[in-house]
């Protein structure tokens, strides 16, 4: 499906990940479109157990039965029959970059992944279209029982633990796109951290779409057992095609008693990707769950990472940065459900819109009866950089308990002409001055990122802003 807006029918300037690998040789390319047969075929190629095939088919029925959401962004251009649901270049994930096909290896080199792995990561996964092509974890962590695998591989190697948790946080019928993901999921990461084990360095997965009209449906499942901790980072890029691709992931996280999980996303899809993702975590007694969610790319993102605080004193945080340039709509936010006493949460959202871009914060704080002592603060700030840009805030709150402290605040502002004047009087040009103000605006979130990502985030925002000011 060609995108209707002529403005995106050219490769956006400044997007440096927009190349594609023309020499990709596909091992499996399923014909475009979605049907019961396609769902069965994906399951057959993967050689899955019957329960998973059945679950996929059940999810497919849910997908077919449900209407498209009518809220949020404009999804009218998504044609589910004009998408490749399964395209794969290799038949297994390897543990050495030398075994990855050359052209894929070159792509990951250009993205800087093997380099980063050597320097500051505990493990890396790489997904290329539908399948995970590379997966590796440091030997010392493996010895401690940490599992970090492609999700398909985990289903084969650890069927019991997989079946115990898969689909328990986000059921197959949760929403239309989660149902789609459950029906056609492929790839993603599976992480299990045993009791008391702390994974000190981040684990990273890198998601790359290469094929035109591709749908990527990775499925990630993270289980942090009691008293453990882990930080998972994902990055995403895609070629800049003039036709639409779809990324519809499902991420489920279980944070057990006293455990801590941080999940960081730097989403930088090209501007032809519809990014419709369901992410949800459950946090038990004394657990801490943090989502750090940076949305820079995509044509439309609809993503509201959520946390169910199920055990006493559990804590949840969502830090969200969204940047929408021309023809982009970032509909992001976060949800926290307080379902146990003395639970606490913090949502901080910073969004920036420029050109004809639109950012929307959409969030929910819900406190169930009996969850006394719950505290939640939601803080949303939006910066609008141009006259045609737009910013919305939709913060939902449902409070059914008296003994709580719940607050929400939001502001919307522009870059002040006095701020600009001051910086320009110090010798900066307008673009540099605006970029500096924007960097200052997002600083509270960027400082939560690991150093390397913070640098990358600042650089990406600078790229987004180039040529857009003035």
């Amino acid at each position: 499906m060609a995108l209707p807006n002529p403005a995106v029918n050219k490769v956006p300037t400044g997007y440096k990940y927009g190349w594609h690998d023309p020499e990709m040789k596909s091992l499996h390319v399923m014909k475009k479109g979605l049907s019961r047969e396609v769902v069965e075929e994906i399951s057959r190629i993967k050689g899955e157990p019957q329960w998973m095939t059945d679950l996929r088919l059940k999810a497919f029925r849910h997908f077919e039965a449900r209407p498209m959401p009518t809220w949020g962004g404009d999804m009218s251009q998504i044609d589910f029959q004009d998408i490749f649901y399964y395209v794969t270049a290799t038949d297994k994930a390897v543990q050495s970059w030398d075994d990855v096909p050359d052209y894929i290896r070159r792509t990951y080199d250009r993205l800087g992944i093997p380099e980063a792995e050597k320097k500051y990561l505990a493990g890396v996964g790489g997904q290329y279209d539908s399948e995970v092509v590379y997966h590796n974890i440091r030997a010392d962590l493996e010895k401690q029982g940490v599992i970090f695998l492609g999700t398909d591989e985990a289903l084969v190697k650890y069927p019991e633990i997989f079946r115990e948790y898969f689909g328990t946080v986000i059921p197959a019928n949760d929403n239309k796109l989660a149902a789609l993901n459950t029906a056609v999921w492929s790839g993603g990461s599976f992480i299990y951290v045993p009791k008391g084990v702390h994974v000190e360095l981040p684990l990273q997965a890198y998601f790359r779409i290469n094929t035109e009209n591709m749908g990527q449906f990775e499925r990630t499942l993270i289980i942090a057992d009691e008293g453990s901790s882990v930080h998972y980072v994902e990055g995403c890029t895609a070629p800049a095609y003039t036709t639409a691709s779809l990324h519809s992931a499902v991420v489920e996280i279980i944070v057990k008693k006293g455990a801590r999980v941080r999940y960081t996303t730097i989403q930088n899809w090209s501007h032809n990707v519809y990014n419709l993702v369901t992410k949800r975590a459950v946090a038990y007694e004394d657990a801490v769950m943090e989502w750090v969610d940076g949305n820079l790319g995509s044509r439309l993102t609809m993503k509201y990472p959520s946390i169910y605080l199920l055990g006493e004193r559990a804590h949840g945080e969502v830090l969200s940065i969204a940047f929408a340039g021309s023809d982009q709509h970032q509909d992001a936010g976060g949800k926290v459900i307080h379902a146990a006493p003395n639970t606490t949460s913090l949502i901080t959202s910073k969004s920036i819109s420029q050109g004809t871009g639109r950012t929307s914060y959409r969030g929910l704080i819900k406190v169930y009866p009996g969850c006394h002592g719950s505290k939640s603060t939601v803080r949303c700030d939006a910066l609008i950089l141009s006259d045609d840009a737009r910013s919305d805030t939709y913060p939902y709150m449902e409070i059914d308990e008296e003994d709580v402290t719940i607050g929400h605040e939001a502001t919307v502002s522009k870059v002040g002409s006095e701020q600009l004047f001051y910086l320009m009087s110090r010798g900066m040009n307008e673009a540099e001055a605006s970029a500096m103000i924007v960097n200052g605006f997002i600083e509270p979130i960027v400082k939560e990122l690991p150093m390397e990502y913070a640098v990358e985030m600042n650089r990406l925002i600078q790229l987004q802003m180039e040529g857009a000011v003035g």
């Binding site: 009866p369 939006a382 609008i384 950089l385 141009s386 006259d387 045609d388 840009a389 737009r390 910013s391 919305d392 805030t393 939709y394 913060p395 939902y396 709150m397 449902e398 409070i399 059914d400 308990e401 008296e402 003994d403 709580v404 402290t405 719940i406 607050g407 929400h408 605040e409 939001a410 502001t411 919307v412 502002s413 522009k414 870059v415």
Partner: protein, 412 residues
């Protein structure tokens, strides 16, 4: 016994209501009724109606045909200067052309249109206030209505027209006995002209069986200045949509609310502060004190249009939960379509009384009840202090007293 139409609201009732009225009004009522019939009843799928089901709305009580009229007292000197203050029916008889040029021409928020339309088709009461250009009315005008007992529907419409550079303060107070299932569908259309000033207070003390489904539309002209206050004390269900249109350049509006609810009361407001004109200012402050099993929802949208430059707006909704079973859903929405804004934001909170405040008050010798009353009264003070008419302030505090307690009790 009040005189009621025989059955639920329908075209025949609307026709019956318009017997003896001028042809233009009969046509207008019929037009509104046609629109009502063409428009669907609200569903729980609509954002503004998600939190209040209308399933149990008492729709079967016949329309109240002979509502008790409020007493409309107006200084003869003001009447001589052209101020008109009466019930709407009287105004239609005495000033048909004036009423005709202002009544029933406006739509309101889509979510409230079914009730706005019903009221404009079937009003049998309501206030008409007209202040001609340049006339300043000192002291508040008061329209106080006491509704009779009985199970009925009553859909009055209030029309306020404040012409250029005029100024006026109006208090509308409505009360009814407890017990009966009543559908009270009062609507208000406040038209405030160039440089005019309006202070409008609505004091709602309806009985505990009443469903109040209301709509208020305010259009704020260039350099006009409007303050509205909704003090909600009574009723079983109160669902009100406020449509605030900042159309004129440089206009200002302050939207104040005091909500004191107990028992199983549900109060559900939706608002839209629509900043259409440049350099307009609109600030909203709604405070709820929620006792027993009461519940307050507030869905408020601030919309800044692309052509509205240099606007200022704030929306604030605070809920004090005074019982373990009370609940609140404050939802302040922003839709900002320009970057040329001076100030824009919102804040919403929900929570119990800070135990430190409670402890402090009790350590000074106040009983637990007196401490709570004082803190609630203090919580409301931010709105009460902005009521600049002393008689209205006293009236509102008096109406709040049964729920939040007397202030002098605190001192005692």
């Amino acid at each position: 016994m009040p005189v009621q139409a025989p059955a639920a609201l329908d075209a025949a009732t609307v026709e019956h209501v318009s017997l003896g009225e001028p042809a233009w009004l009969r046509a207008q009522r019929a037009d509104w009724w046609r629109r009502v019939e063409a428009n669907p009843w609200p569903t729980l799928a609509q954002e503004e109606w998600r939190r209040t089901s209308l399933d149990a709305l008492p729709r079967d009580g016949g329309l109240l045909l002979d509502p008790p009229l409020a007493t409309y007292e107006l200084d003869p000197l003001l009447a001589a200067r052209g101020v008109i203050f009466s019930d709407l029916g009287t105004a239609v008889r005495e000033h048909p052309e004036l009423v005709r040029s202002h009544l029933g021409h406006n739509d309101t928020l889509a979510a409230q249109m079914p009730f706005w339309g019903r009221s404009l088709a079937a009003w049998t009461g309501g206030t008409f206030l007209y202040v001609p250009a340049g006339v300043a009315v000192d002291g508040p005008l008061v329209a106080r209505t006491v509704l009779p007992a009985g199970a009925y529907s009553y859909l009055p419409h209030t029309l306020v027209v404040v012409e250029q550079d005029a100024s006026v303060t109006l208090l509308e107070e409505i009360s009814s006995p407890d017990g009966d299932a009543v559908w009270f569908g009062g609507t208000g259309d406040l038209q405030v002209g160039y440089g005019a000033r309006l202070r409008y207070a609505n004091l709602q003390r309806l009985g505990d069986g009443v469903w109040r489904i209301g709509a208020q539309r305010v259009e704020v002209g260039q350099d006009a200045n409007v303050t509205t206050l909704n003090a909600e004390i009574g009723s079983a269900i109160s669902k009100v949509g406020m449509d605030v249109r900042m159309t004129g350049k440089g206009g200002t509006s302050r939207l104040l609310g005091l909500l004191a609810a107990g028992n199983a009361q549900r109060i559900d407001f939706n608002s839209c502060q629509d900043l259409l004109g440049s350099h307009t200012t609109s600030d909203l402050l709604y405070l709820s004190a929620l006792y027993d099993e009461s519940h307050a929802a507030f869905y408020g949208v601030t919309r800044v249009r692309p052509e509205a430059k240099g606007t200022s707006s704030y929306q604030e909704c605070r809920n004090l939960l005074l019982s373990p079973k009370a609940g609140a859903e404050p939802i302040p929405v922003l839709e900002i379509e320009t970057n040329d804004i001076l100030r824009c934001g919102h804040g919403a909170t929900a929570g119990a009384i800070d135990p430190v405040q409670r402890f402090y008050a009790q350590s000074r010798g106040l009983s637990a009840g007196a401490a709570e009353r004082m803190i609630v009264r203090g919580f409301f003070e931010r709105v009460v202090a902005q009521i600049d008419s002393e008689p209205i302030k006293a009236r509102v505090l008096d109406a709040l007293a049964p729920r939040i307690g007397q202030t002098d009790e605190v001192a005692a």
